[in-house]
Amino acid sequence: MKLIKYNWLILLIFSLMACDPEEFFSPVVELDIPPHTSKLVVAADFEPNSDSLRVFVSKSYGFLDPKSLNRWDRVDTVSGVQVQLFKNDVLWTTFTSAKNGYYTSGQTIPLNDHSTYRLQVSAPNFETVTAVQTVPSLVPIVKATFVSQGGVDAFGGKVDLYTIEFNDPANEENFYQAEATWKYQFGANSWDSTTYALTHLASTGDNGNETMLIDKAFNGKTYKWLLQPYFSRGQPQVGDTITVRLQPIAKDRYLYNKSYTLYSDSRDNPFAEPVLLYTNLQKGYGYFTISGGSTKKRFVF
């Protein structure tokens, strides 16, 4: 049989098939990647009229660095950190070291302050990190309501409905965040719930996500925000208090939260497009934002 003339080829094919399946299908590979240069990581979100200002400072790791794993229970503090806040380019306050990577200042940012604040964080062997913010104006709640089973969710089910009505300032881009806290009784004590208790009742398209909103669709108009409570502890009981809060936020806060939400929702999904986490810090990771003052409305059950 003439096929035999080519048996060397057949033998070659079948001998090559004898490979280690695990090593073939999912080997660990070394990629040609530049070494990671550690950068300062900063988290600072200031509110006007608060008692103190806090800044968290840490550092980044390369993904392949064994130190990058299991750090959630301890902070790798950076030595020699200097945290300064400049107001209209003049040094306004220097933060002092507290613990676990936090730095504090006793200064208070006034409400409706239109100054420009620049945060500067530096440390030996790290590039200096800076970011600039202005304080958003206060936008008070004009009216807030609660209607039991007054809303309809995306699946057609009836849900409790909160509304927050406010007048959006004209001719400027504004961002808002709504939150609710639930003071409930547990035995003889009362406890505050988390502040992540509201979601949009209906899709508002490009207006925002989660409990944040951009005024693209209602710039300069009165807006009634429909919100559905998302409580993890069942329904509020008699004596419980729900406090709804509206707060203008910085654009950078809106962009950071939006990208962080996308990141959190997609981080274990291999089919999702990767998210480049937003930062407004030059040469660092994290965020520096200043929110506007907030107004609250309390509902007692």
Partner: protein
């Protein structure tokens, strides 16, 4: 006024030169002598005047020459030269029947007389004969037209084993794939490992990747024309084969000899036939009373060709292909009978009716009516009948999506003389889109669910087109100048586009030619797909008031030469700019149904540039080609025009930005009966986005209000890393033998012959550290590569009569 006068004088001079001599027209068809199949792009050449033309898609030619002696040569690759000398003194119709040169001992064709590469105005266009495609080694021995195209310069494959085409920086949805002139929307079986085109039913495959003549439109990156066989007019023939995963059979022959013919071809996989009894037996032993398995795909091509007379000819062709995967079980016990089922199926249906009308010996028309549909469904159902107390619980979920086109067009081919060939036409396509909806119904303990996720509303649009082009010869300069106009209506907007086209060819002497082209293209429909793998659930959606049409312009220059009489060399450089290309937004999964599709995508820009080298040998015992592409391919979604940015608005390498891409295909005929074909490919690794930095930030815990550190393992910039390079060798050895009544062939091959573990994807992972030091971590982050195919041998038997 003076300018108008000058123009009139020029027009008069041109007309005078055209009609100064008494001329007559020779016209007709060029066809295969044995089967009467029309030959596309066969050259009809008057040696005496050094002028000629190539046949059109229907094998038609028209040559207007001065009165007197003509010395015609008719050539086509793989066929014997035919020559005819006569005295032209009236309009003449001649149908040339060329004999295949396969049976000749030696192919002797004067290269001087052939349709040489340097004489073709069209650049960036490659035609691969189906016989050559059939020789190229393929995964599991299944001939794959699209994977053969991936071996050409400027054309890249996506992932391992995928048949998506990335042409000059484009994406797979930017390719218009036409089967007998009808768009085929999903060209993949089993998620892209096999294409829907059955090689036995195909006559010819042509790829145009740039320099688009005005008659083409609707996609940014390429036009792939796949012509089905017409059917043998003279005698009944057949071919078929048995492979590892599928078998196929094709029959063709005359219905009325020399008048009407048919071709019918089918292919089906049969792994389900072996697996069903095995799984049924296993299920039965687990108490399953009823078991059903669906696990196959099939393709069915058919064509009828009817020659009414020399002036009129009709074609009716159809294709239907389907992938069907499903499983169903019934489990019964004393308490209840539970039936579950689930599965998915998808497929195309295309039909085309064509009418060739030879209006005069200089004017040819083709009228086409087409229908094309693609549907994808995915569903699962659960039904439980409880005996005591009697109750019924039921649940069903079904996902539906698809696209449907009804189109009509008329094309004219007018050849007034040997200096001009004018094509013009008009057409329109009515699209219907089903953009994807999940219908969920259920009843549990008297609680009913009836909801729909996604959009159940169909969308409609109309896309009219109009074009005109003139392929002209002005001394050493040949040019094709044209204009393609198109429109597209959406709910509120009517988009229009004027697309100028230019192709030039200038003979430099010594056989070298300089070619150049410019083309703008507009694409009104988009494919929502993820970058890594083409799935049947990929969704075709229209441009809308929010989603603007994709547009591009491409400029290319190049040179070409026939080396000796056997080798063709071409070098082309290109630059392509694309606007309004689409991508999923950051964090969006193509599997998610929570949003409408428009809110999932963003639009941006793309640019691609590179240089392609191509050396091809078409004749002799050793044939094949070497292709090399050096290219760059980038995307930028900067957030302008109300779009969301990607990668902070910065430009980044497209996933298929492949700096070096090499393909070598060699086919050698050792004896009349034995041949070996080898294909080796090399490509720079795909660009990938991987986690490269980890940091911890304090976050308020959602449930406890406690502030703790949350890990953020995030990406630096998009697509800044590279997978390892891809390279693979495929081989195919053929043993053919002529039996008494038929020819049989054994093919033995191997895909990935040297067992290279090529990267399919790379993901973040972890690896344990053996014997870690006290206090040190016991595992670490790593990048893990996933590979698909080791060496895969194949054996196939085929026959032909």
């Amino acid at each position: 006024m003076k300018q108008l006068f000058i123009i009139l004088i020029l027009v008069f001079q041109v007309l005078k030169s055209l009609y100064a001599q008494k001329t007559y027209t020779i016209s007709g068809y060029v066809e295969d002598a044995a089967s009467a199949e029309k030959l596309i792009s066969a050259a009809v050449f008057d040696k005496k005047r050094s002028s000629g033309m190539v046949t059109n898609t229907y094998g038609f030619y028209s040559l207007t020459l001065p009165k007197g002696e003509v010395d015609l040569a008719i050539t086509y690759v793989g066929y014997e030269l035919q020559e005819l000398n006569f005295n032209l003194k009236k309009d003449t119709t001649i149908h040339f029947k060329l004999k295949s040169s396969v049976t000749m001992q030696e192919v002797v064709v004067s290269a001087k007389k052939k349709d040489r590469i340097e004489e073709q105005v069209q650049m960036s266009r490659v035609t691969i004969p189906i016989d050559q495609i059939k020789k190229i080694p393929a995964l599991m021995g299944e001939v794959d037209v699209l994977k053969a195209l991936q071996l050409l310069p400027g054309v890249q494959s996506g992932g391992e084993g995928q048949n998506g085409l990335y042409v000059r920086g484009g994406s797979p949805d930017q390719n218009l794939i036409l089967l007998d002139g009808v768009p085929v929307y999903n060209v993949s079986h089993i998620g892209g490992f096999f294409s829907v085109f059955n090689g036995d039913a195909i006559k010819n495959v042509t790829l145009t990747k740039g320099g688009f003549p005005a008659r083409y439109g609707g996609r940014l990156s390429s036009i792939i024309e796949i012509d089905m066989k017409e059917g043998n007019m003279n005698e009944l023939h057949g071919e078929g084969g048995i492979g590892l995963i599928a078998s196929r059979l094709t029959l063709e022959g005359p219905i009325v000899k020399d008048k009407a013919s048919f071709m019918i071809s089918g292919r089906r996989t049969y792994i389900d036939l072996f697996m069903r009894p095995l799984l049924k037996s296993a299920a039965s032993s687990d108490g399953v009373s009823n078991f059903d398995l669906k696990l196959h795909f099939y393709d069915l091509n058919a064509k009828v060709n009817y020659k009414i007379n020399d002036k009129h000819r009709l074609f009716l062709s159809a294709y239907n292909g389907q992938d069907i995967f499903g499983i169903g079980t019934t489990f019964t016990n004393t308490q209840a009978a539970t039936t579950t089922s689930g599965g998915t199926d998808w497929g195309n249906l295309t039909t085309a009716f064509r009418w060739n009308y030879l209006i005069s010996n200089k004017l040819f028309s083709n009228t086409t009516l087409t229908y094309s549909s693609y549907n994808f469904t995915f569903g699962s159902a659960f039904d439980e009948k409880i005996t005591t107390p009697p109750a019924t619980n039921a649940f069903s979920a079904k996902y539906l999506s698809g696209i449907k086109d009804v189109a009509g067009k008329i094309d004219f081919d007018y050849v007034p003389n040997t200096k001009h060939r004018i094509r013009f036409g008009v057409g329109g396509t009515y699209h219907t889109y089903n953009p994807g909806a999940f219908v969920i119904k259920g009843s549990f303990d008297n609680i009913n669910i009836d909801t729909t996720l996604g959009s159940i509303n169909k969308a409609y649009s109309f896309e009219p087109t109009l074009y005109a082009e003139d392929e002209m010869q002005l001394g050493a300069l040949k040019a094709n100048i044209g204009l393609h106009a198109s429109g597209f209506n959406t709910k509120k907007t009517f988009y229009t586009s004027l697309q100028p086209r230019l192709g030039v060819n200038y003979l430099l002497g010594k056989g070298w030619v300089l070619k150049g082209s410019f083309a703008t293209m507009t694409q009104y429909i988009n494919l929502l797909t993820n970058e890594s793998v083409g799935l049947p659930s990929d969704l075709w959606v229209p441009s809308t008031d929010k989603i603007r049409p994709q547009r591009s312009w491409q400029v290319a220059i190049g040179t070409a030469k026939t080396l000796g009489n056997e080798y063709e060399l071409s070098i082309e450089a290109y630059y392509k700019k694309m606007d309004n290309v689409i991508s999923y937004k950051e964090g969006i999964s193509f599997l998610g149904l929570e949003n409408d599709w428009e809110s999932k995508i963003t639009q941006g820009k793309g640019r691609a540039y590179g240089i392609e080298f191509f050396v091809q040998k078409k004749e002799g015992n050793t044939t094949g080609w070497i292709g090399y592409t050096l290219s760059w391919n980038k995307r930028q979604f900067d957030g302008s025009n109300g779009n969301e940015p990607i990668n902070a608005g910065l430009e980044y390498p497209f996933r298929y930005d492949r700096r070096n891409d090499i393909s070598v295909v060699v086919s050698h005929k050792f004896t009349k009966k034995t041949s070996l074909t080898a294909a080796w490919v090399f490509g720079t690794g795909n660009a990938v986005t991987l986690n490269n930095v980890v940091y911890y930030l304090p976050q308020k815990d959602m449930w406890s209000n406690y502030i703790r550190q949350f890990e953020t393992a995030t990406v630096g910039e998009k697509n800044i890393y590279r997978m390892p390079n891809y390279h693979r060798l495929d081989i195919n050895l053929e043993f053919s033998k002529q039996k008494k009544n038929y020819e049989r062939k054994w093919s033995i091959g191997a895909y990935n012959a040297y067992n290279r573990a090529n990267p399919y994807t790379i993901m973040n992972g972890t690896k344990s550290i053996p014997n870690p030091a006290p206090g040190s971590p016991s595992y670490q982050n790593v990048y893990r590569q996933f590979s698909l195919f080791p060496i895969i041998p194949s054996v196939a038997y085929s026959f032909k009569f």
